[in-house]
Amino acid sequence: MDRKDFKIISEWIKKDSTVLDLGCGDSTLLKYLIVNKNVSGYGFEKNIQKVQESIKKNINVIQADFNIGLEKYFNSNFFDYAIMTQALQENKNPDHIILEMLRVAREGIVTFPNMGFWRNRFQLGFLGRMPVSNALPNDWYNTPNIHLCTFSDFENLCKSLEITIIEKKVLNDKYSSNFLAKLLPNLFGEIALYKFKKE
């Protein structure tokens, strides 16, 4: 239960706040935040199996694809936080969803795998193959990850969307941090967590 990324997200979140978890999966994170931070809110998930597990856990979940838009369900400035863990790269329009997150919530939190991680660079740059790793387990033809980016790419996007990054944490695929990842995150970090808001 005590995954490092969950712990970090939990630390970034105020007690009793309202949360929207986009691509909430089986709602393990939401449950963690409810237990540890007494949050209230909703999960958003398109996969029926995951929805089943969320309902079984007694978590509020809405079965829908966030690619179709959040305006169907959520008014502006409705939540304290909109969270998206390991799903940004599955979006048709990541830039749009980031703005949507900041429409419905005061602050956004995302986690995603780093395409610039040295192993990924090595696989593509030297082996000439699309990277496959623990954080990116699929082959190119069956991956749901259609919009992969590096940490630098993400930070540039935030800049162009006039979004301020409030917090950043870089982890390896075991969800722990190390010295090198702190030193050169875009080369040695495998997974990043960002907390951001509108400028």
Binding site: V51, Q52, I55, I59, V61, I62, Q63, Y73, F74
Partner: protein, 376 residues
């Protein structure tokens, strides 16, 4: 054959009738001084009386939701797939109440029962009742059964409207609501379908302004056409294609206006069966109850305001191929519940059965119900 009554059936059931000698003020302004409700129960009410579930029926449904009346019964109750030991609405755990609504034609006070004040059959004089009136009458039934608070109120289609209304009218008397293939109000298209059905009945020469029983006739043609139309809207293009395609009943065209295609034969059969069991005045009344339902109306047309004081947990379910009560109607309910910051989960089940899907044993659907019920 007796082996069809499986271990997971509620078995042989018997309906009961309660006479409620209390005035019920109806939305139309009239009063029902006393009335009867026919109902069935499955499972046992526990000593804390906190395991009661109310099942609300849809347009043509009734109180016989599960089990068989006798060993030779051809079919079980209309929601037998969901009600029984080990089923999503588990009778080992819950005490389940299912009633025939006021204005119905299966034994509860309605157009084809006697008005005690006049000694005559109500017929078309039976007041038009609303979803709100039904919920108020169901509350009196709950009182009679010593149920202070429903663990859950459940319904599909028009039944889902009753579940929604329960949470609004009696927020302290309901803990959970399951709203399936329903809507917070009908669209113009939906009302239009109902109007065609009503016109079919009303313009039948044997309707006699609703007093057909005095003439010992039934407006069969009108009621049949109403049912055929309704039935088409409860199915999907896909499911009809799968079920009938363009199959011919006798393998060839007849170049006449009698039945050529299987689908025609099916519709006629369904209509015939319906005419034999259902009352035309009740059909008219039920469609009006559907049309009139609009709980947001009293709240500046803001549905989230209507939900403001509710205390239930909600499960909203819709089906991908349902175009009579499309998913967008459920989205509207969910959006308003979210806006009111209520506990709600929503599942859109992939199914090609159209609106009728809510009565089908679709595995993912039953699983959603089961998972939600685990926390009831």
């Amino acid at each position: 054959m007796t082996n069809k009554i499986n271990d997971n059936s509620v078995g042989i059931v018997k309906s009961k009738t309660v006479e409620i000698k209390q005035n019920l003020k109806l939305d139309c302004g009239k009063d029902l001084k006393n009335f009867s409700l026919v109902y069935e129960t499955y499972g046992e009410l526990n000593s804390e009386k906190n395991n009661a579930i109310l099942i609300c029926h849809a347009l043509s449904g009734d109180h016989h939701a599960a089990g068989y009346y006798n060993i030779d019964d051809r079919k079980p109750g209309w929601w037998d797939s969901c009600i029984g030991p080990g089923k999503p609405f588990d009778t080992n755990k819950f005490f389940i109440v299912s009633l025939n609504n006021l204005g119905g034609c299966m034994g509860s006070t309605g157009p084809n029962t006697i008005n005690s004040e006049t000694g005559l059959e109500y017929g078309p004089d039976f007041p038009i009742v609303t979803v709100n009136d039904w919920v108020n009458s169901q509350k009196l039934l709950a009182d009679y059964l010593n149920i202070n608070k429903w663990a859950c109120v459940i319904g599909g289609s028009l039944g889902g409207m009753q579940a929604l209304q329960w949470t609004i009218s009696y927020p302290d008397k309901i803990k959970n609501a399951i709203v399936i293939a329903s809507a917070a109000k009908l669209s113009a298209q939906n009302i239009a379908f109902n109007e065609v059905a009503r016109q079919a009945i009303i313009t039948d020469p044997e309707f006699h302004d609703g007093r057909y029983n005095n003439y010992n006739v039934v407006p069969k043609r009108g009621l049949s056409i109403a049912r055929m139309l309704g039935h088409i809207t409860y199915l999907s293009d896909d499911s009809m294609r799968q079920k009938f395609g363009r199959d011919l009943r006798e393998g060839k065209l007849h170049f006449g206006y009698d039945v050529d295609f299987q689908v025609e034969s099916y519709l006629r059969y369904q209509a015939q069966a319906f005419v034999e069991r259902f009352d035309a005045n009740t059909y008219l009344l039920m469609t009006k109850a559907l049309d009139y339902f609009d709980p947001a109306k009293e709240y500046d047309d803001d549905l989230s305001k209507a939900f403001q004081n509710t205390k239930s947990r909600y499960l909203v379910v819709s089906f991908t191929s349902d175009w009579r009560f499309s998913s967008s109607k459920s989205h509207e309910i969910v959006k308003s519940l979210v806006k009111a910051r209520k506990n709600v989960s929503y599942s859109e089940i992939e199914a090609n059965h159209g609106h009728d899907a809510f009565l089908m044993p679709i595995p993912q659907y039953l699983e959603v119900l089961r998972n939600f019920m685990e926390n009831v």
